[in-house]
């Protein structure tokens, strides 16, 4: 067990280093000179000195090897450099935007899990019934619905509903307050985005719960449990669900990384000042230092959530470690 954990944890480092290398290479593929883009964006003329000063400032006048080593060393120390757009350290820009994104992500996960596991289980137990049909349609539609469109439509519905009830339309506030300061205001900001992202997440997990449950229900030990005369509730909770949840855990972990992608569009719809919206701004402003930091941040989250899934899996299912 320990050998597995150690080797699995150690695998994270080469993957992250490889990803950082890939980001470094990608960002150097930018056609033309970053400084020309930057100085030229003002529209005015600029001198050769200004161009050279800019090169020296970003450090692209040095050899690729030096730049690469410096970049990797910076990543290892969470030093992402200075934003090319705002002039502030990238880490500061990210830190101010991180809490709201994290809260939406966690909330979406809670919504997804509380919807997916009960509904997926019922759907499997009552296979081919009308409730199964409803759950399956709901989940397959979840995979087809663009999160940003769901966001726009939900805003529309809220506006119309509040207009009908109170006579004037209500929009969720956009300036973030932490949960512990003003829970109601905080939740009114976070709830709709979390629901729109959570829908897709719930849909995927629901499908997985249903198919894993169907598979487990056909196992011999379930038949044995039935033959012993165990009551249905115990068979479902203790024997079936426990084993069916293994693949569900994997999907929840993998989809958590997907969630960050969902944040990019959803934050735009709801005007939330989180890291997803920041990333879009960075790409629009051609802020390469910030973009590479944000890409690395999401990759790190994805790699770590995969690690957690693998470790949980090994803990839940002893057979995995033998493989």
């Amino acid at each position: 067990m320990y050998r597995y954990i150690i080797s699995r944890v150690l695998l994270v480092f080469p993957t992250l280093a490889g990803a950082a290398t890939l980001v470094f290479v990608l960002m150097r593929l930018v056609p033309g000179d970053i400084c020309l883009v930057r100085l030229g964006s003002g529209g005015g003329n600029f001198t050769t000195q200004a161009l050279e000063a800019c090169h020296a400032e970003i450090g692209i006048d040095r050899s690729w090897i030096v730049q690469y080593l410096e970049f990797m060393w910076g990543m290892a120390r969470f030093d992402f450099g200075i934003s090319m757009w705002s002039g502030k350290p990238v880490i500061v820009e990210i830190a101010t935007r991180f809490p709201i994104s994290l809260e939406v992500a966690v909330m979406a996960t809670i919504i997804a899990v509380t919807l997916a596991i009960p509904l997926g289980t019922i759907s499997a137990l009552k296979q081919n019934s009308w409730i199964d049909l409803v759950v399956r349609t709901f989940s397959i539609a979840g995979l087809a619905t663009p999160a940003f469109w769901l966001g726009i439509v939900s805003i529309l519905v809220v506006l119309d509903l509040t207009q009908a009830i109170s006579g004037h339309p209500w929009m969720p506030p956009i300036d973030y307050v932490p949960l512990w300061q003003d829970p109601i205001r905080n939740l009114s900001i976070v709830m709709l985005p979390a629901l729109t992202i959570g829908y897709r997440y719930a849909a995927v997990s629901m499908r997985m719960t249903r198919s894993a449950m169907l598979e487990v229900l056909r196992e011999d030990y379930i038949r044995t449990a039935r033959a012993k005369g165990l009551i249905n509730r115990i068979i479902i909770n203790r024997h079936a669900l426990k084993n069916a949840l293994l693949p569900v855990v994997t999907v929840i972990g993998i989809e958590f990384a997907f969630l960050i992608g969902g944040l990019v569009v959803t934050e735009q719809v709801f005007n939330l000042n989180g890291i997803g919206r920041y990333m879009v701004q960075c790409v629009q402003n051609q802020d390469y230092t910030a973009t590479q930091a944000l890409v690395m941040l999401t990759v790190t989250i994805a790699v770590l959530s995969n690690l957690v899934v693998d470790l949980l899996y090994a803990w839940l299912d002893p057979r995995i470690r033998l493989a």
Binding site: T15, A19, I140, L143, A144, W149, G261, V264, V295
Partner: protein, 303 residues
């Protein structure tokens, strides 16, 4: 285990009510329609939007880019079935032409990404050893980038526009396909007929193309069908963010940008119809893909 007991991991098991396997594309399609009614619904949805895209020039009542400032933000009417947007453009015409953009991006990314993944996956499984090991590590790294994040990074480098969007969506699809193809190809490699082909002195390319590739076609087709849907969603998201297809090219994601939110209360049709088009298309693709998987993979039946 004798050679006779070996079965390829996935075999097409589409049979009609007499237990016969249909021959020819029309017979296959007809049997599929009868055996998989849900998949047939999906296929019909995909066909509607696909044909709309192909024949948009003939069936669209207006030009997708023509502004008629006399009818800005008009609700659906006889003249404009789905209404007009804030610039007086006919929404139905834009949705029809948008279908073309969606399918061009979706099909190209899925096919190119899928084929590249097929080559990498089969080669990785067939040659094995060091090549397989390093390719797998490389795929691990590329897979660590969530699809939309990778696409954003590529767009930030090469810029926006339809070709760059296709590139941006294709790249993250490659490792996802290679992974699936490799795991099926690994099982095929162990089947004795591959050994037999090798013993007969066939070239690597002949073994790969004639013996391995046909046997991974099942999972390959299932995954590229799913890719078409994912690519259409990714294109819509990028275009919505203003980082994908650019005006004046009509695209569903682009139609939801700007105006849709601003006019949400006064002209909800601007926001509702393009989104419905995306949803129905991807819904159709997913239904079709699920049925395809049921047909091609008997182990996944009844789920």
């Amino acid at each position: 285990m004798s050679i006779l007991e070996q079965t390829p991991t996935t075999a097409a098991v589409l049979v009609d009510e007499h237990g016969l396997t249909p021959r020819g594309p029309i017979a296959i399609a007809w049997t599929f329609l009868r055996r998989q009614p849900v998949g047939a619904i999906g296929m019909v949805l995909v066909l509607i939007f696909g044909l709309a895209g192909i024949f948009a020039d003939w069936i669209a009542p207006y030009s997708p880019t023509a502004n008629d400032f006399a009818v800005m933000t008009e609700p659906p009417s006889l003249a404009h079935w789905l209404g007009t947007d804030q610039l007086g453009r006919d929404l139905l015409s834009r949705i029809l032409f948008g279908a073309r953009t969606a399918f061009v991006v979706g099909l190209t990314s899925a096919l190119v990404g899928g084929l590249a993944g097929l080559v990498i996956g089969v080669a990785s499984a067939y040659f094995g050893g060091q090549l397989d090991l390093w390719l797998q590590r490389l795929l691990d790294i590329v897979m660590a980038f969530p699809l939309i994040i990778m696409a954003l990074a590529v767009v930030s480098i090469f810029g926006t526009g339809i070709q760059n969007v296709i590139v941006a969506i294709t790249i993250p699809l490659i490792p996802r396909c290679a992974r699936v193809v490799r795991s099926s190809a690994l099982a095929i490699r162990e089947v004795p007929y591959v050994d037999a082909a090798r013993a007969l002195g066939f070239s690597h390319s002949r073994i790969i193309l004639a013996h391995m590739v046909p046997n991974v076609m099942g999972p390959f087709l299932v995954i590229i069908t799913a890719f078409v849907g994912q690519a259409i969603l990714a294109e819509a998201a990028l275009s919505y963010l203003g980082l994908g297809v650019q005006e004046p090219v009509p695209a569903w994601g682009l139609m939801l940008q700007g105006g849709a939110e601003e006019y949400a209360t006064t002209a909800p049709w601007i926001a509702v119809f393009p989104g419905l088009a995306i949803m129905l298309t991807v819904f159709g693709i997913n239904l079709f893909g699920d049925s395809l998987r049921d047909v091609l993979d008997p182990k996944m039946r009844d789920r």
